[in-house]
Symmetry: C2
């Protein structure tokens, strides 16, 4: 019996606090394990192991896996069980292409509809991100473990005023999948100059309510990051 080296404690607390059901906790735990690469692409996910790792019953685990499947992070075959979804360069490029269509669309709608609350929330989100990216929290250059969630937060704040729930959930699903490739490349080098400037420019164009410019900038941003990741992934021969 293999072990997955998952540490459920940080997520389980949310269940103890009553805000999440157990199935949801299990979902969050597993999702994080897959995104972070603790579970390898293609790996079999057998209930026995997952139960002992996470602690919940088989039925609860099963519900979490069902949800993960709809995120595209897990695949299943009838009466064959569940597997971590595979990764490929082809898929990564497809995801990027779709993001380049949906992100600017969501952003434009958000810009058109965003109210004062949205605006201040965005200012806050960008402030936190730029602080971390400039490493002003601490003078150490070690990549902040918080960066992924703060970065995610900023991009979510940008589009959060978009009224189309469908669009937002598609966007979120693609964002999640991209995160997986980012972790694979393990390039949380937030001290690079380009992304910092790009985030700032997107932020400013959005506050200026310049949808056209903001759309162009976010598309460029996605393409740059994608190209950067692609190089690393191909060099490291992590995906084919």
């Amino acid at each position: 019996m293999q072990t997955f080296k998952i540490d459920p404690s940080e997520f389980k607390s949310q269940h103890e606090n009553g805000s999440l059901s157990r199935a949801e906790s299990a979902y969050v735990i597993l999702q994080s394990a897959i995104l972070k690469g603790l579970l390898n692409p293609g790996q079999k996910l057998d209930f026995e192991t997952l139960q002992t790792e996470i602690g919940y019953s088989s039925g609860t685990i099963r519900e979490a896996l069902t949800q993960l499947k709809s995120d595209g992070l897990v695949k299943s075959e009838v009466r064959r069980g569940y597997f971590v979804a595979e990764v490929s360069l082809k898929e990564f490029l497809e995801i990027t292409e779709l993001r380049c269509i949906l992100e600017p669309l969501a952003l434009s709608k958000s810009i058109a509809e965003g109210d004062d609350e949205w605006e201040s929330n965005l200012v806050l989100a960008h402030h936190k991100l730029s602080k971390i990216e400039r490493g002003s929290d601490k003078s150490t250059s070690l990549p902040s473990y918080e960066w992924p969630s703060v970065h995610k937060n900023f991009h979510e704040a940008l589009v959060s005023a978009c009224p189309s729930k469908n669009l937002l959930s598609m966007r979120e699903s693609l964002f999640k999948q991209s995160e997986r490739y980012r972790f694979l490349a393990a390039t949380m080098r937030t001290h690079k100059r380009d992304p910092i400037i790009e985030h700032l420019e997107i932020f400013q164009a959005t506050l200026d309510r310049n949808a056209e410019l903001a759309s162009k900038l976010i598309t460029d941003h996605l393409n740059h990051t994608s190209e950067h990741l692609r190089e690393i992934l191909v060099n490291k021969q992590l995906i084919l």
Copy 2:
């Protein structure tokens, strides 16, 4: 205790034949009931009723509901249970707008990649559709109960060679949601002239591998159908 008037027999057989798990059967049964409007928007879905209607255990029902939720056909609140998703004109227009972006994209890719098998499959699908739409099966003008699945099949055949699984699953999800509004309007008047011609034109442009024209035609098609449905829905005051 309410009853839903669901007839599970037609879908259950698929489970008996071994091709589907029970949870998947339950999923298909419930999905169909929601799409067809047998279950009303906003309606509470309590396990007891669903169990007696469909016959499977609560755990199996629960798994089906989890999947339905990711299709956007069902919503849930923690420890409050499951509900049929609401409908609204606003959402319908959003769905149409997204379809107008994703369908042409998927179609273009399909045209670029489609092989001979795709082509002959498409010819067949269009043949079946046009046969039903012209009512040549029977001279009665009663709307064929098969039309929805044949129509769905044709649109699926168009895009089936698109290599992006993500794009296809988003497209499918939007298609499903649109179906709901179509059933609501209950306008399976397939004898109308416009949609028949439109299907034919899309079909021809696709076979000609004219991605640009095919894209334009499918967008127009979606907008026309949408406008048609919108009128009916608003007139009947089915959605606000």
